[in-house]
Symmetry: C2
Subunit: 237 residues, 2 copies
Amino acid sequence: MPRRPTEKLLEVAKSGTRRQRFSSGSTRRALIAAGEELFTAQGYAGTSLDAVVARAEVTKGALYHHFSGKQALFESVFESVEERAKVRILEALRTDTDPFDRARHGLRAFLEEVRDPAYSRVVVQQGPAVLGWERFREREEASAFGIVLEAVRGVLESSLTELDDAMVETFSRIFFGAMTSAGESVSQAEDQALAAARVESAIGFILTGLATLSEQGLHVPDPYDLARADGPEAQPE
Amino acid sequence: MPRRPTEKLLEVAKSGTRRQRFSSGSTRRALIAAGEELFTAQGYAGTSLDAVVARAEVTKGALYHHFSGKQALFESVFESVEERAKVRILEALRTDTDPFDRARHGLRAFLEEVRDPAYSRVVVQQGPAVLGWERFREREEASAFGIVLEAVRGVLESSLTELDDAMVETFSRIFFGAMTSAGESVSQAEDQALAAARVESAIGFILTGLATLSEQGLHVPDPYDLARADGPEAQPE
DNA sequence: GGGAGTACGTACTGGCGGTATGACAGTGCC
DNA sequence: GGCACTGTCATACCGCCAGTACGTACTCCC
């Protein structure tokens, strides 16, 4: 929240009205930082580009030099926030090798991350609507969802070996949605630590159930059978 | 600058193209219907109120007479779409009494519903961003999430009797998020029926796991213990 | 030293959400 | 049957804001 006055900006400010154009990267970073703050605090629609450039202490000319428009700026902010989260989560489970440990610690780290207002608002809430679901999904694929996919694959393959990729992806989508939704409710809770513990407890229990079933030799029902079993009257539309 | 009106207004009035103002409800419904179509096809930000009133064959005056603004119109569209979905889902499990049947058939009906573009775009994708997460959550509480809550409560209480309300809510949030996310990916899949069958299979397996665990006398770990176990260094922020 | 390229700054435009105000058809009252 | 009143619109206008056009300072390179 307290803005850092970023070295040369002050020099320029006092030296003259015009911002000098040494490192182009610092301007870009200032715009992304300003965008993150404002998009987080006021949402995408509630943030004007004039406000962004004012906070970054540049002008619209600079913004449109670095980004093709508002949406592109948002996308860069989105990527920045996601990358930060990804690094922190991967760091949290860097030393784990057991699939269940990785899943458990990854879940815990994710629940920490989703409590960051920037991640919650920019990625979870605004992301799908601003980028469109498809583009959002592509971006997530390389980031948080990708981590979940690997964790789920690890857990399932350590027990339910017969699952194909599509089914692993389905399970991952399910867990990812569960974590996102639950995480969002954690970030809104009055006692966040307790809410997070509830989520960890519930998801942990679910994972235990999966492991137990597979120990008993049960397997996931074949979706092809399901689709045929009561799909005859389904309209082909 | 005072207005200089009146000439063209008379023309319009005599020409008969002007919508008469008997039933106010029909105008309102026309606006909601037009809004649903456009919000579904082009999103909230991509839809101008001029486009909405043009499609509804009224003017902005009529829109602002019935709604306080664009957001309020969206909210009415949102409610309308949700109510329709809720009715259909409840209808689908009207005759079921067994908790597992209700859960299974409810899931199936929900997966049908989320494939409706209006539900997918207006409720799932745009809803949280436009209404804000908190308001979105309130609205959902009385609708789809409420149904899930009842279904999950039924399943859990039939087996895991010691769960308190907060834990039931946590499980519900988890399943609701799972269903929403999975449903969204179903609606994007090339073979929707197969994707839906995969989701049903996976979630059904998870439910079976929960039931099996409780038969073995295992119970959900107490979140209070978890919170204390590794919560001491959590920053109070 | 001048032309090309970079990194901006400034002024303007068009579209769109929102508002102010008027028009007009019932409806009840006398 | 006239008249006030209210509910239901219609029209013109305003301000904000994303995006554009164009100018400009500074650097690099030949």
